[in-house]
């Protein structure tokens, strides 16, 4: 090669070498946000339930865009499997939840629906300020605790996937109409949360973007979702790996700590603190009947635990009048201590104002 040719080629080679890493990294990206407790493993759930994923798959054709419902189902199945295998590989104990698992739980379908709705609600806010996940700002609330208890896990892993596949016709049309200045790309994105099963705090939020083609997503959903899952979970720590959170994240954690599990012993502690026998708690609270206390739980009135000696409690006679007036006999509702409820039919008996659509 003569010098003249080398001088011509060299800038091209150098430019390619300079931009290649950027080109490689630019379209494939993933981000993660974790609470300080999650990073230090204090609030990191290790037994996780991977919940059924929700995927939306759109096929953008030259003129119209159509939803691909059955193909989205394949993406849902494969993404859940991929995420479960990644979590297992990093040392987490994983339960891949199926529809049959949910149906086996009494009220499970309702519980999952409540959880999904609440997660979707929070996700809308997370999109606007994902960094706030580090401060423990987002919580799915009670449905998360209930679902985790029903599934016997410490944490829940919900995920949402959006996939857009552009046909060749669409790509050609966009390129032609923009005179080659614009192009479209098929891709899939994943938004995944790790929700604590005690309190429902969003401990970790992981996203991934993968430019996989329409054909690949339709014909090889397993491979497409494996790539996407890898991308989203690339920064998930190993189960027992301790990370070093930022100082301000630690401060936020101290102000808003994650939930700790409370055991049944709190019932006895309450009884001791209340300072009087709760031999008939059901009757005291208005319940007529109820099953006996669970096995292992001492009957009401038993000596309190050692850390709550009765001597420290004031005698019952000094109890503040915290309780309500005794309920009146049935059929004669008690006079309200406050304002009476509005008369029946006082307000328009309607719910809200969306339209009946077709």
């Amino acid at each position: 090669m003569n010098l003249r040719r080398l001088l011509l080629v060299l800038p091209v080679v150098l430019a390619a070498a300079f931009f290649a890493p950027a080109l490689e990294a630019a379209p494939k990206s993933g981000t993660e946000f974790m609470t300080a407790g999650f990073q230090t493993t204090e609030t990191r759930p290790l037994r996780l339930a991977v919940l059924p994923a929700h995927a939306q798959f759109y096929k953008a054709q030259a003129v119209m865009t159509n939803e691909m419902v059955a193909e989205a189902g394949a993406l849902e199945r494969e993404s859940a499997k991929s995420i479960a295998s990644i979590l297992e590989a990093r040392g987490y104990s994983v339960r891949l939840v199926t529809r049959a698992d949910i149906e086996a739980i009494p009220g499970g379908a309702d519980l999952l629906l409540r959880f999904d709705n609440r997660f979707n609600e929070e996700l809308g806010k997370v999109f606007k300020a994902p960094k706030d996940v580090r401060h423990g700002r987002f919580s799915v609330g009670d449905p998360a605790t209930e679902l985790a208890r029903a599934l016997k896990v410490e944490g829940l892993v919900p995920m949402r996937i959006v996939a857009v596949g552009n046909t060749a016709g669409r790509a050609g049309l966009v390129a032609a109409l923009s005179l080659g200045m614009a192009f479209v790309q098929s891709y899939s994105t994943m938004y995944l949360g790790i929700v604590h099963g005690n309190g429902g705090r969003l401990e970790g939020y992981f996203t991934g973007y993968e430019p996989n083609g329409l054909k690949r997503m339709v014909q090889e959903p397993d491979k497409a979702m494996a790539e996407l899952s890898d991308r989203a979970m690339k920064d998930l720590p190993m189960a027992h790996q301790v990370l070093k959170p930022k100082k301000k994240d630690l401060e936020a954690e101290a102000a808003n700590p994650g939930g700790e599990q409370v055991g049944d012993e709190i019932i006895q502690q309450f009884e001791a603190a209340a300072g009087k026998s709760l031999a008939e708690p059901a009757a005291a609270a208005g319940l007529e009947t109820g099953p006996p206390p669970p096995a292992g739980e001492p009957p009401a009135g038993d000596p309190p635990p050692a850390d709550n000696p009765p001597a420290q409690d004031p005698p019952p006679a000094q109890d503040p009048p915290a309780e309500k007036d005794p309920p009146p006999p049935p059929g004669n509702p008690p006079p309200s201590r406050r304002e009476p409820p509005p008369a029946p039919g006082e307000r328009a008996p309607a719910i809200r104002d969306p339209a009946v659509t077709g």
Binding site: V63, N66, E67, V69, A70, D110, L113, R114, G124, F138, G141, T145, E146, R149, A150, L173, L177, I266, I267, F270, E271, A273, A274, G275, P281, A282, A284, A285, G286, L287, E288, T289, G290, P291, P293, P294, N308, P314, P320, A322, E323, K324, P327, P330, P334, R337, R338, P341, P344, G345, R347, P349, I351, R352, D353, P354, A355, V356, T357, G358
Partner: protein, 442 residues
């Protein structure tokens, strides 16, 4: 050519294209549904494929309400209203969705969905028939397919003219599509009234249905500009349904027409209770309260309705049960929607509790809730969930001992409840507060 001249030409071309599109839109808008056979074109096969798969999707998402008396009622009304299908791809089936929002929709292959929130809101069977007649007409008139064709043709026009109109064509396409959609909705109302009358239901109830939909207790539904709305405005729909029903009704007594109020409300009561609880979950406590008050008015001796009212009141937190009149303007509604999207539930509650009014409101709501929990427990002493709610409400009021007793009662009555960790956590706080009280007492 000077720059100004080029710009002027572009603007003129854009205006002309816009006018052409608008004219095309008007021409389409004057079209009506097609009640004869409408073969599906190749370009519409993806649409029909998705539509068929939706049925599985709703099952996969557990969104369908399980078979029940309400489902049977919806099916029987639907079958009474549905005309004989004229295409082999139409096969009517009627489902209830678990969603507490007020909505219903129909798909072109005959699937008709009514959401639980709508069923709970209605007062009688004739109103449900009005909704279903409207939806059945969308399928019978092939509205979805026709709208798909309309959007498709307008999109092609938009693509061709788009570069010359600096993107203005998209606006005209949007306006045109919305206008066409409103025409079809109007037609579905009009034909629905006739169907109702033929099947023996009182068509006057359709206007009442639209009146009910206008309520907005949570003040979060700002009105949309008519031009961009896919449906005619509700006040206009009320007037037009009323006028059409008057012309349709035969002269003389109309007592033979079915309305079935009491029986309907009896059948949908359990579903309505579930809807009210669902609305609390969805953080729409004012709407839940309106529904719960109505349920209590209908069945005051039913412990379930009392419980639902108590839960709704507790769910209000620091919100007033009825939105103050000065907070119901369009600007307020838009602001409310914005805040809901921006702030978490805990942040909104904290903002309300930062004011004395909010604190007072919360106290009032919890006190009323406690009364209702007590009433529920008087009516059904074994209702452990009422005991739980009572405990949580008393805890909110600072009545720790009463709160703890009620929660312990719940924990003993429901040892396997999924919310046990939540209740135990509350009990822990109550116990800590009690100990602290005792220690600080002289």
């Amino acid at each position: 050519m000077s720059c100004a001249r080029v710009l002027r030409r572009i603007v003129v071309a854009g205006s002309v294209a816009g006018l052409i599109l608008a004219a095309a839109g008007r021409a389409d808008a004057q079209e009506k549904g097609e009640y004869g056979p409408v073969p599906v074109r190749d370009s519409e096969k993806p649409l029909m494929k998705s539509v068929t798969e939706y049925e599985d999707l709703f099952v996969r998402r557990n969104a369908r309400y399980p078979e029940s008396a309400v489902g049977a009622l919806v099916t029987s009304i639907g079958n009474a209203l549905a005309p004989k299908p004229v295409d082999d791809y139409i096969h009517y089936r009627f489902h209830v969705l678990r969603d507490p929002d007020v909505n219903a929709f129909a798909l072109p292959d005959g699937q008709v969905y009514v959401q639980a929130g709508l069923i709970a809101m209605l007062e009688n069977e004739a109103q449900l028939a009005a909704v279903m007649a409207h939806e059945v007409n969308h399928t019978a008139g092939h509205h979805v397919i026709l709208r798909y064709r309309s959007v498709r043709s307008k999109s092609v026009a938009g693509m061709v003219f788009g570069p010359f109109t600096l993107g203005l064509s998209d606006i005209f396409v949007g306006l045109s599509v919305s206008g066409y959609s409103r025409e079809l909705e109007d037609e579905a109302d009009s034909h629905g009234l006739s169907l109702m009358l033929e099947a023996g239901w009182d068509p006057r109830q359709m206007a009442r249905t639209f009146e009910l939909m206008q309520a907005d207790p949570d003040v979060e539904t700002p009105h949309r500009a008519t031009a961009w709305s896919s449906h005619p405005q509700l006040p206009a729909r009320v007037e037009s349904a009323r006028a059409r029903a008057a012309t349709l009704l035969p002269e003389g007594p109309t007592t033979a027409l079915k309305v079935n109020g009491d029986e309907y409300r009896e059948i949908v009561r359990p579903l309505s209770c579930a809807v009210a609880l669902g609305l609390i979950d969805e953080d729409q406590p004012r709407t839940a309260c309106v529904l719960a008050r109505r349920l209590v008015a209908e069945a005051p001796a039913n412990p379930a309705t009392r419980f639902v009212l108590a839960e709704s009141l507790r769910g209000l937190g620091a919100l007033s049960e009825v939105a103050p009149a000065e907070q119901t303007t369009q600007t307020d509604k838009k602001q409310n929607v914005k805040e809901r999207g921006r702030l978490t539930r805990a942040e909104r509650e904290a903002a309300l509790l930062a004011t004395p009014e909010g604190v007072a409101e919360k106290k009032r709501n919890l006190e009323t809730a406690c009364d209702e929990y007590h009433r529920a427990l008087e009516l059904d002493g074994s209702m452990a969930e009422a005991s739980r709610g009572l405990g949580l409400a008393e805890h909110g009021l600072g009545n720790n001992e009463a709160a703890g007793r009620a929660l312990v009662a719940y924990l003993r009555a429901r040892p396997d409840a999924t919310d046990r960790p939540i209740v135990l956590k509350q009990l822990e706080q109550i116990t800590a507060a009690l100990k602290s009280d005792r220690e600080t007492r002289p």
